[in-house]
Symmetry: C3
Subunit: 209 residues, 3 copies
């Protein structure tokens, strides 16, 4: 199990998202149960949606390791957060790593279940963004997915590159590593430079409705 790179990447993404959830708990000054809940919901949320939609056994029911990782991440952040000067940037960067990994991983697992390319990309995007969406809705943060700078687009880019490469016969690692990097870099530029796609604008003089 621990020599399976997809499994290890999954645990890594769980840890990264769990830490982001615990950081949000620290911003909301929750108790240790709140830390554990937000870390767990954020860490396993995306993969749970993916497994339920693909009708696979849900990954944390058959294997306790992901839950152990979420609880450890919660405890670690509970004690480490006071020593972090500014928590929001740490949260953003953890989330950026998470969406790039989970975008590719969700797509890879969907392809392995014989999903067609477009559903595989959609599942990659959902796996990448759902945990963070739960985290932000439950804790009353503004969902990252609603902010104006590029976010879900980075997950879609990572998932799309991976699916195109895999459909072309590229081996797992050679497809996944550039796809994760591309998704992460796009999101990184969005965080640093506030990069946005062109937005829809109502015509001047039009009413809002």
């Amino acid at each position: 199990m621990f020599d399976n790179p997809v499994y290890l990447a999954d645990l890594f993404a769980v840890a990264v998202f769990a830490a982001s959830g615990a950081l949000v708990a620290s911003r909301a000054e929750m108790d240790i149960t709140g830390f554990a809940l937000l870390a767990t919901f954020t860490g396993i949320g995306g993969g749970t949606l993916r497994d339920v939609i693909l009708d696979r056994p849900v990954f944390w029911v058959v294997d306790q390791t992901p839950l152990v990782i979420c609880i450890l991440a919660a405890i670690l952040v509970f004690f480490a957060a006071p020593h972090i000067q500014r928590r929001y940037p740490v949260l953003l960067w953890l989330d950026a790593v998470g969406i790039a990994f989970y975008g590719v991983l969700g797509a890879e697992i969907a392809l392995g279940m014989k999903a067609a390319p477009l559903p595989a990309i959609a599942l990659g995007m959902m796996t990448a963004t759902f945990g963070g969406m739960i985290r932000d809705v439950v804790s009353n943060e503004v969902p990252l997915i609603l902010k104006t700078e590029i976010y879900a687009t980075a997950a879609i880019l990572a998932a799309s590159l991976h699916v195109v490469a895999r459909e072309a016969g590229v081996p797992l690692a050679a497809a996944a590593i550039p796809a994760v990097l591309a998704g992460f870099l796009l999101r990184a530029v969005a965080i640093r430079k506030g990069l946005q796609l062109p937005r829809y604008r109502s015509r001047p003089g039009r009413d809002y409705g």
Copy 2:
């Protein structure tokens, strides 16, 4: 596949809900990814919940057509919305068509999976309202389901008429068409006349708690 009326009705409901999601994206002035996400979540949300609860293969994983329709609806609305004088009424009417169709369709699919009448009606109602609920929660619109005028009741009416007729042995089209029309008409009157059911009122002098 394209000669199957249930399948075609499903695609029609997906298109209608996807367009309503894209209109909400235009009201929130999102970028093209935001249009695609909201169109997709709204278009496939209800059917996804239905398929997961009934433990069927999720309809857009096994067949790419619904996702293609959602993306096309998003692109179409992105370019067409500036030419629509008032978008909210268009959204309301699309949604009204969608809930009538999906109320009947969800119930029909549940009956086909051997669900009993009451669960079939409940699944029809959930299929009809869940996509719009995601659309409104994600975009911070007031959920239509929470407004005071008749909304979920129209989906329940459509699903109930269809289930009663089908249980009485009426063929598919003869049951479905009047049920869809009745659900749509009830919602139409609610939109035009602000039709409400009697609401619960606290007694005067009672505190809110």
Copy 3:
């Protein structure tokens, strides 16, 4: 079926949560459909999530009784609520009974599906809290899970005691009854005394971010 204690406990928890949902509908002055929807979503929400994650047949699809109970609870509360002097405490106590029952029941069902201890506790907690979370989000109440006093911790306590006892070979009733009581008592003390766990505090002088 009605001589199965797990089944009867499930129906009892459905009734209690459904009544809490209908009370929230009365606070929001909804119409009778709103009462039925909120009672149903709250009553069956936790068990639906549990069954979907465990890939069991969803309990209210195969058996109409839970839906009948939710609708009856909605009708009862619609007519009884005006005679209740203060509804919020009734809601809180119903919810407390519900989370203690559902925490144990979710864990028991998960163990019966061969889940490991930690996932069984997590599923107990989710079964206990998910219906109330839907209730509070849909109706714009502050989710109980976000309040500062002990809430999810009580569900975790009930689920944990039950799982430990069952893993040690204790029979169902001898494990479940003390676990339900312990979870309920912890939540009762939290309601009466405002009992909290220690919360994370930012260091003075640290900025919020």
